[in-house]
């Protein structure tokens, strides 16, 4: 009997093995090519219907192809997560927030735009949005909105005219007095929290290779400026009015201020009505100096999944171009208030006169474009808010920053690819032993990109971002100024400069 069981099991196994079916081919028909396309778009009520109408219009305008669209409402965050979980069964076209671009590139979930299409996108949209859709010089997707940033909504009945809405301290005080909350995600989201650090000029720039893998970081959060930012953060984190939330309905549950984006507008309008105030973020003062809170500015993007069938890929590309084009963006602004990335729509009167977008544009002056950032960073950085809340001394704040740096370095310690890679570090091109230039390997010889050296610049080549293995033993001193590539023979440990 045991044998029967074994055999039965094995047969079952075999069935599953052979049952792995191949891919279906594309639709072949003579003149009108028909394609089934799945589209994931915003979950907000009414958006899906509008997209369907826009697809119908596309079909009318392009008689050579017919798109049978299946549209699903889904949040941007959810969309990216689901796509990355399973690229094979991902939708053909989907929207996502900019911070997910690197992950999606890494997951191979985005089809690069053809040259013509790329040119079109570059011409239609503002430079910041095009930059947002570009990864290491390659355009991977289509800007959908240019309003993915945050600013301040407030209740005019609490933050009255005599409160200085450009002073964080004054606003916090007014909130405390009125027993109302100041809703700002200072400890649950690094996206918001970074605002304080951008205010003092800190940055976190990540170096990624073309495949989307992180190879280095240039992070200045742990610096004197970072400490100032932490002190500013403390003001919020220690206020009794603190409320680490960006709930759209915050004003229903006792908030007087909400730091959020355009997506909160319908709900805030409902709650506050006439009392709704919108402004750019306030400034905070540390040691007599005033810093205007910064922000991330980013886009929502539309991505197309890579296809094996060239004709379908082309059809999807055309559809994506249309959906992110001038007409569709204008419609979306009119219906849902989404801030356009299209230059012509941006210039239109309706957009120019919009109160909420005005606040967004005002904040843009202090915004940092949200480039590619390591996914882990979002998890690691949000801890700083809690640090500020718990801190009893400046040393605590500093320790929090040190731990933050250690955690970030830990990301690299994990990946053997990084642990075994060599980088150039030293005082050159404005860096002061705080920046690692990536190198690439070929037959045991590691070469960096061309670096502009001044005479007397010093550097070392180190392995795995640590000092355990670094060449040469004494710093390499550049004798004559010029642009060189640094080269290391990993077998002998010999460092040289090549033109």
């Amino acid at each position: 009997m045991k044998k029967f069981l074994t055999i039965l099991l094995s047969v079952l196994l075999a069935c599953t093995l052979f049952g792995c079916a191949g891919n279906k081919g594309g639709n072949e028909s003579s003149d009108v090519k028909e394609f089934d396309v799945t589209i994931w778009f915003s979950e907000i009520e009414g958006v899906a219907d509008q997209v369907q109408a826009q697809v119908d219009k596309f079909n009318e305008a392009n008689p050579d192809i017919k798109i049978n669209a299946t549209i699903r409402g889904i949040t941007e965050a959810e969309s990216a997560t689901q796509v990355i979980n399973d690229v094979e069964s991902a939708p053909d076209i989907y929207c996502f927030a900019q911070d997910q671009l690197a992950r999606l590139v890494q997951a191979g979930a985005l089809n690069v735009l053809g040259e013509g299409a790329a040119k079109q996108v570059t011409e239609m949209n503002d430079a910041g949005s095009v930059g947002a859709a570009t990864f290491n010089g390659t355009l991977y997707c289509y800007p959908l909105t240019a309003d993915n940033g945050y600013f301040m909504y407030y209740d005019k009945s609490v933050i009255t005219d005599d409160v200085d809405i450009d002073s964080l301290e004054a606003i916090l005080e007014a909130c405390e007095k009125a027993n109302k909350y100041f809703s700002f995600e200072y400890k649950t989201s690094a996206w918001y929290l970074a605002s304080m650090f951008f205010a003092t000029g800190c940055k976190s720039d990540w170096v990624l290779d073309d495949a989307g893998t992180i190879i280095g970081v240039n992070d200045t959060f742990n610096s004197p400026e970072g400490l100032i930012a932490m002190k500013g953060l403390e003001k919020i984190a220690k206020s009794t009015a603190r409320n680490s939330s960006s709930d759209n309905a915050s004003f229903s549950t006792g908030s007087a201020v909400l730091i959020s984006g355009t997506w909160a507008r319908p709900d805030v309008t409902k709650d506050l009505g006439e009392n709704m105030g919108v402004a750019d973020l306030p400034s905070f003062t540390v040691d007599g100096q005033t810093y205007h809170m910064g922000s991330f500015s980013g886009n929502k993007l539309l991505g197309v999944k890579p296809q094996q069938d060239a004709e379908k890929a082309s059809a999807c590309q055309r559809l994506a171009l249309w959906l992110t084009g001038e007409e569709c963006q204008a419609e979306r602004f009119a219906s849902f208030g989404w801030g356009p990335s299209n230059k012509n729509v941006q210039a239109s009167d309706a957009v120019q006169q919009d109160e909420v977008l005005a606040a967004f544009f005002a904040q843009s002056a202090y915004a940092v474009p949200q480039n590619q950032i390591a996914g882990s960073w979002w998890d690691i950085a949000k801890v700083l808010g809690q640090v500020a809340e718990d801190a009893t001394s400046e040393a605590d704040l500093q320790k929090g920053l040190d731990d933050y740096t250690a955690a970030i370095n830990g990301i690299f310690a994990m990946d053997p690819a990084i642990a075994n890679a060599y980088t150039v570090i030293g005082s050159f091109a404005g860096h002061a032993w705080d920046y690692d230039e990536a190198m690439t390997e070929e037959n045991g010889v590691w070469t960096s990109a061309a670096i502009e050296f001044a005479a007397g610049d010093e550097f070392k080549v180190r392995k795995g971002l640590s000092w355990d293995e670094a060449f040469p033993a004494d710093n390499f001193v550049v004798e004559t100024a010029g642009t060189y590539k640094v080269q290391l023979d990993s077998a002998s440990g010999e460092v040289s400069l090549v033109q």
Binding site: C20, I44, E78, N85, D86, D247, N248, A249, D267, K270
Partner: protein, 288 residues
Amino acid sequence: MAEKKHMGAKAKSRLSNTIIYIILVVMTIVWLIPFIFLVLESFRLETTHQVGYVIPKQWGFDNYIKLFTKTDFPIWFGNTFIIGLVVAIVQTIIVLSMSYTLSRLRFKGRKAMMNVMLVLGFFPGFLSMILLYKVLSWVGLTGSNSVPGLILVYVASSGMGYYVSKGFFDTISRSLDEAARIDGATRFQIFTKIIMPLSKPIVIYTILTAFMAPWGDFMFAKYIAHAASDGMNVAVGLQNMIGTQASLAANYTMFCAGGVIVAIPITILFMSLQKYYVEGVTGGAVKG
């Protein structure tokens, strides 16, 4: 003297009973508050937002109507009901045969098998999710076709949950079996003719718990549904409804309404079968 002492005991007992009643009433309130609040909020019309009060200013059924007309709730409900029904039937068969075997029959490797299954339970189950999702997606049982996929997964590993019903079978006297064997009954006949009729409480208990589980699963079900609304169960659908800040604000009261609707059939089922449920638990769970 004796008379007086007796009176004292009576008064004492009255006092302690009063205290117990007070505790029970307080408990009842504490236990019911979230549900009463949930029901109240589901009837609120003035705003869909979460608010700092409970009693609605405007009452109405709009949230319920919207739930059934504007969302896929009927589909989710249907999906969950089908899953619950199929799982309840198949899982009951599996669990009963598993637990009966382990409780009543003696064979080589029985102890080892129980130990292995105990140990398997220590491994955090949701890690398997990643693999199971991939395999189901290769076979095409994800997204819109999640229902059979979910049923398959729920049912397939249900043999692991034999503890309670094994405990129940353990309490049935073995002398019944032995008597029947002497009369020439096969083990199959003993199972169907003798043990099953005695096992009504545990059968109902197993059906009930198997039926209820799919209503609450949203982790795995969400993974499998892969954003396809027509492949979701109520838990995933409702959770999606309040998944982001924007949707939370827009759908909160509707979410409450959904919660109430989901709770109704299960509560009715529970109330009507409570007697068996209690007998099943008390007979079985004590013996793990």
